[in-house]
């Protein structure tokens, strides 16, 4: 039973502030994925939990105990590194046995545990090989084996899949998910890949520029993003975000306009907390459908299409959106193949619209 908590944790390197006031808790057996772009501070966060970086401010608690001053080896933590960090001069067996040997387990106990873990990961035939003789995927599994065999209280994963090719990555993330659920070890996983994050997480933490944007389950993050940053980060292709101005608002309906010719009506009562009448409307490409004639709420001029077989992505322009802004993306069925220059009449459900404050980017929810 292991819980992890971070209270008001901040990290600075000399004058540069990398993380500010991070707060979250991880329940026993939960897999939390921290996702964000390069440089957002996620690796620093992980390394502070591991004890490899000093904590500038705040506390890290494992099972309720403050561990700020506890050495890494005493925190009962195992880490899977991005480049695996396998000891190149030792066999796979020795790599996995190293930590156990240091903890004084008997030769027999070590042998038993290592072979058990090897079987779990499909490594039983590779035990006598050295890392240089293994493929990327095999090395990744040895790195995990080394972590698992120690039966630690917490698993830490530092972008372990980023050095693998795409196909292997897909397979490995499912294996990691299954493994973690089977072993039930509290885990913290760091990645920049949002698909990986969505697949693996029990809960997601989206980090941007050293601050937490949202902590939630993957579905909630997808369906109710807390900010334009999260909205644009999670989901492929990304959500269309349009700058709009509030035209009218009452408790039933809010009407906003994006340049001429594009008016959006949303369920009411949201804009009370807005900082001004500038808002951002968001709608996901998959929530748009081609509609019949006068049912259409939007007109989209097609500028480019991507034929993916299973679906077609249309990049276009609606209304008077300036040429240099991001294209408006619509996801259609793979059999629908519009032509460039065609104007598509589009429609959507009112509930599918998201509304964000135009200045802060935060979600404006209905009261």
């Amino acid at each position: 039973m292991t819980t992890l908590a971070l209270n008001n944790v901040s990290k600075s390197y000399d004058a540069e502030n990398v993380l500010s006031d991070v707060n979250f808790e991880v329940a026993d057996g939960e897999m939390i994925v921290i996702v964000g772009p390069s440089g957002c501070g996620k690796s620093s966060l992980l390394r502070m939990v591991a004890g490899l970086e000093p904590i500038t401010a705040g506390e890290v608690l494992i099972n309720g105990q403050v561990v700020n001053k506890v050495e890494p080896k005493d925190r009962d933590i195992a880490m899977v590194f991005q480049n695996y960090a396998l000891y190149p001069h030792m066999t796979v067996f020795a790599n996995m046995a190293y930590g156990l040997k240091l903890r004084g387990l008997s030769v027999d106990a070590i042998k038993k545990r290592v072979t058990e873990t090897a079987l779990l990961l499909g490594l039983e035939n590779l035990l006598e090989r050295k890392p240089a003789a293994l493929s990327g995927g095999q090395r990744q599994r040895v790195a995990m084996g080394r972590a698992i065999v120690r039966k630690p209280a917490i698993f830490l994963f530092d972008e372990p899949l980023s050095n693998l090719d795409a196909k292997l990555r897909v397979r490995m993330r499912l294996e990691i998910k299954a493994l973690q659920q089977r072993l039930g070890v509290t885990s913290l996983y760091v990645t920049h890949d949002q698909v990986e994050a969505m697949t693996l997480a029990d809960r997601l933490i989206i980090l941007n520029d050293g601050a937490i944007e949202q902590i939630d389950t993957p579905m909630k993050v997808y369906q109710r993003p807390a900010s334009t940053y999260v909205a644009g980060f999670i989901g492929t292709p990304p959500m269309n975000l349009l700058k709009c101005r509030v035209v009218s608002s009452n408790k039933n309906e809010v009407s906003v306009v994006h340049h001429e010719g594009a008016t959006f009506r949303l369920p009411g009562g949201r804009v009370a907390k807005a900082s001004s009448d500038e808002v951002t409307v968001g709608i996901r490409p998959d929530h748009l459908v081609i509609s019949e004639g006068n049912q259409a709420k939007l007109q989209c001029a097609v500028q480019a299409i991507e034929t993916l077989g299973s679906e077609t992505l249309v990049h276009g322009r609606i209304a008077e959106t300036p040429e240099d802004s991001a294209p408006f993306i619509v996801k259609l069925d793979g059999n629908t193949l519009p032509r460039i220059g065609e104007v598509l009449p589009l429609s959507y459900e009112m509930d599918a619209l998201h509304l964000f404050d135009g200045n802060t980017g935060l979600r404006l929810a209905s009261s």
């Binding site: 490899l52 000093p54 001053k69 050495e71 890494p72």
Partner: protein, 282 residues
């Protein structure tokens, strides 16, 4: 260090500093000896702090009439060392650049034969061919000349190998683009290859300058006239001249002068120096 142990860190620094002091000790003593007069220097106990005779000893050393050191002109020696070191360094670099260029970029008969011939010189330091090389140089009338001092030392393979390695790592596309642009081999060499290899050349220059300046056995053998002595080999003569005790204060000052140029080069061009060392040893 990963552990948060200030005591451990302090210990590490201390041990390193002790090491530093032990290493620097001989040179400290040299400075001390060079700054006292002949009387104080021979007294026991030996002083631990420098004296005030630095400039006096410096002047005495440079004056070629100083009897205590056998009338050997120190200034002359330093000049000889400088010329020798510069000639060796530039000579080695020029020759090796040309050879490496030929071996890497040309296909010609005997290419591998020449390569192995150059390679073999790695295994023939001057110390294993002293007598015969001396004879050759004497027969060519090159004793007591700058040419005699430098040419026998400029053909060893380390520089060639290093340049070869550098050239091998340059992408083929560069040559193809140059050819399309109409460059012939020598144009390519001067306009493209050399500028790209600038840092390697500089690094090697540092190493070779030090190598050249510090030559001992070879200058010892082929210079018989005092005016051609180099300062590094001249030390031995200084130690041998005296009828009584050697004039340690002047000798140590000379040693200081002999050490100074290479040490300054290492200190000022440290990064180039390290690069040169690590790359020539591959």
């Amino acid at each position: 260090m990963i552990e948060h142990r200030p005591l451990g860190r302090l210990m590490s620094h201390l041990i390193i500093i002790v090491g530093l002091l032990v290493i620097a000790f001989p040179v400290w003593i040299t400075i001390v000896a060079a700054t006292h007069d002949s009387v104080r220097v021979t007294q026991v106990p030996f002083p631990l702090l420098p004296g005030d005779q630095f400039f006096i000893n410096l002047k005495a050393m440079f004056s070629s009439r100083e009897e205590a050191i056998g009338g050997i002109p120190v200034g002359m020696m330093m000049l000889n060392s400088l010329v020798m070191a510069l000639m060796i360094a530039t000579g080695k670099i020029c020759i090796s650049l040309l050879s490496a260029f030929a071996i890497v970029y040309f296909k010609f008969r005997f290419r591998m034969f020449f390569f192995w011939m150059i390679f073999v010189t790695l295994m023939l330091p001057v110390e294993v061919r002293i007598l015969p090389t001396f004879e050759v140089v004497a027969d060519l009338g090159m004793l007591n000349t700058y040419w005699g001092l430098t040419i026998p030392l400029i053909a060893s393979a380390t520089a060639t190998f290093m340049f070869r390695q550098t050239f091998l790592s340059i992408p083929d596309e560069l040559l193809e683009a140059a050819r399309i642009d109409g460059a012939g081999p020598m144009r390519f060499f001067f306009d493209i290859l050399l500028p790209i290899s600038r840092t390697s050349i500089a690094a090697l220059f540092v190493i070779l300058f030090i190598f050249g300046w510090n030559q001992y056995l070879w200058p010892l053998l082929i210079t018989t006239e005092k005016s051609m002595y180099t300062i590094v080999m001249g030390i031995k003569s200084l130690l041998e001249t005296a009828d009584g005790e050697p004039a340690w204060h002047i000798i140590m000052m000379t040693a200081l002068m002999a050490m100074l140029p290479p040490v300054i080069v290492v200190l000022c061009m440290q990064n180039l120096f390290v690069k040169g060392l690590t790359e020539t040893e591959k």
